[in-house]
Assembly symmetry: C2
Homo-oligomer: 335 residues x 2
DNA sequence: TACACATGAGTAATCGTTTACACATGCTTG
DNA sequence: CAAGCATGTGTAAACGATTACTCATGTGTA
């Protein structure tokens, strides 16, 4: 690998001068400037970011730790974050914990060793040890999407899950549904719990008692939504509507219903949560509670970079609004 | 940030000894061993991978360059690759070029500067300059999913796109369809072209001429499949089947059909390509030509690591079989 | 004329590791 | 008993950049 020394020798100058040319600081005669530039191109020289980062004590790298890369919500979020960071000349180290606390922990350690300048963290919710580890070092972190109980000295970007839960449930109740199944996931991080709070609020307004509920172990993929949906659809009496606390779950539920030869939305209304890109393209198109995914990512980056550039910044918690997007997967019950 | 020097001082030994404890090489008395270990834990010491990589001249990092992170096929592939590499103690630097040659080029340069040990590359197909750049340095690379004309000195993991194209088309013809629309994408990398070759082969067998064809600029997302589908479905006579050269396109097409109040698969048969996880959960479940995504990722990692560990290895091209997965989105035409 | 200051470029220390080499001690072995 | 080897540890030179210092020169100004 060609180094600065090689360039310096070939151009007949010292390494310091080459460095000055690269970083465009200090005084360099235009003669030397062009000569060095030519040599760099000729040798196809690429400065080592390892050496640079070691010396400068900053890497321009941000760790992004998410529960599952292979999940539309998180890959959309990751994409938004990567894009925003790239525009600001930061690289993103995307780490997928696979909803596994051990792997998450391994990744936190790896990111610290990698000396990333900061971390954007969507905890699996299966362990909060990792955040503690992170905070033990004084590296800036921001929590996105999932809150973590007891997390201090971090900024947070959340969305209004309580309101979202309320909106989805209220919509189904307003349509006239009275037998509504709910599907969520266990999670210590609380955003699911908050959605359920919202659901309860709506229920209370209508003076109704608790609905049939299925809680999956993790967010899972379509398959888990499918099997959770099956469980609800085998109930007697069968629910006329299902509120899935994730779009991916909702898609799984719709598939289950279709497999039982139920017509959608005539025989079953389904409402989702998240508004992933796919939601608009399911059949029927999914009515869902939208989170502003791209905005969440952008905000998280903004807060993090502000902290990196100005460590004295106070910590903030931003709660973004959720809203109901009405498409075609829900309608009034037939009877 | 606490360094090896801090640990050494606190434990009353030299940095060399600390290094020996960490790397478990050289002789260290068990007394010192435990003392140093204790201090490391006490100070929460994390070795700097920057310094280590600089010194050792290897980073244990692999660059993964894909066209769009926010696309089910690539996020599934990325997930598989990340998982395989993680198990082998390698980190993955995931880079999403957004089907943009400029960004792709910027990423290649970044990866080189980052001194990654190797690169797994799914080219956008909008420029082949980036690979040349990569090959100019002597860093091992393997091409996955998309071939690149004129790429030498790389290993490749492809799937049998010609056969896949043939299988999908042959299936529709066998069902009795004679007016079949095709949707693909422009791509210099050739895998789309190969699928079209397969389509032609099947057509030739049935003595049929060219079908209506829509080529999109890039792979795109659901939306592009939707609009391409709309174009075909507005044709007179309307096709009785559409072969979408990507599952994402297929989902978009099905949505377009549903919007035109067509019943699936009675009034329109759809066949996709890729077999992304979603394919099994669309309504109706998508009949598609499956690529072994996880296996492609695993093979790519295997070839790359082999090259890294043994630079003299010859370059290989592996072509994995595609196969038709029959679900419920295609049936015989009604008339 | 003398002095301050802008310009241009080199020397060497530094970032945090790893590792070749040196050195000391104790034990084995011929 | 001396040589040789295993064991344990420290010193210092890398790795490839950045940057604080130095030291020239030339130029403007009192």
């Amino acid at each position: 690998m060609v180094t600065m020394k090689d360039v310096a020798e070939r151009a007949g100058v010292s390494v310091a001068t080459v460095s000055r040319v690269i970083n465009q600081n200090g005084y360099v005669s235009s003669d030397v400037q062009t000569r060095v530039t030519a040599v760099m191109r000729e040798l196809n020289y690429q400065p080592s970011l390892l050496a640079r980062s070691l010396r400068r004590q900053e890497t321009f790298a941000i760790g992004l730790l998410i529960p599952q890369l292979d999940h539309p919500f998180f890959s959309t979020l990751a994409f938004a974050i990567e894009k925003t960071l790239f525009a600001q000349n930061y690289r993103t180290l995307i780490c997928s914990a696979e909803e596994n606390a051990t792997k998450e922990d391994a990744y936190v350690e790896m990111l610290l060793r990698q000396r990333v300048d900061g971390v954007i963290f969507v905890p699996t919710g299966h362990s909060d040890q990792s955040l503690a580890r992170l905070q033990a070092m004084t590296i800036p972190a921001v929590l996105v999407d999932r809150d973590l109980f007891g997390a201090s000295r971090v900024s947070k970007v959340l969305s209004d899950n309580v309101r979202g839960g309320y909106l989805g449930m209220q919509y189904l109740l307003e349509l006239g549904h009275r037998h509504i199944g709910i599907i969520g996931a266990h999670e210590y991080s609380g955003s699911m719990t908050q959605r359920l709070h919202g659901v309860q609020q709506a229920l209370a307004e209508y003076g109704l008692s608790n609905p049939p509920l299925v809680l999956m172990d993790t967010l899972g993929q379509f398959e888990m939504g499918y099997s959770a949906g099956m469980r609800l659809l085998r109930l007697e009496p069968r629910p006329t509507a299902i509120f899935a606390l994730t779009d991916v779950i909702a898609i799984g539920v719709m598939h289950a219903a279709a497999e039982l030869s139920m017509r959608l939305p005539q025989e079953l209304s389904v409402v989702g949560f998240d508004d992933i890109p796919l939601a608009a393209y399911s059949i029927p198109a999914l009515t869902t509670v939208a989170q502003p995914i791209a905005e969440m990512g952008a905000k998280a980056v903004e807060l993090l970079l502000r902290h990196i550039q100005q460590p004295s910044q106070p910590f903030e918690t931003i709660t973004l609004a959720t809203r109901l997007v009405v498409r075609h997967s829900a309608m009034a019950p037939s009877r």
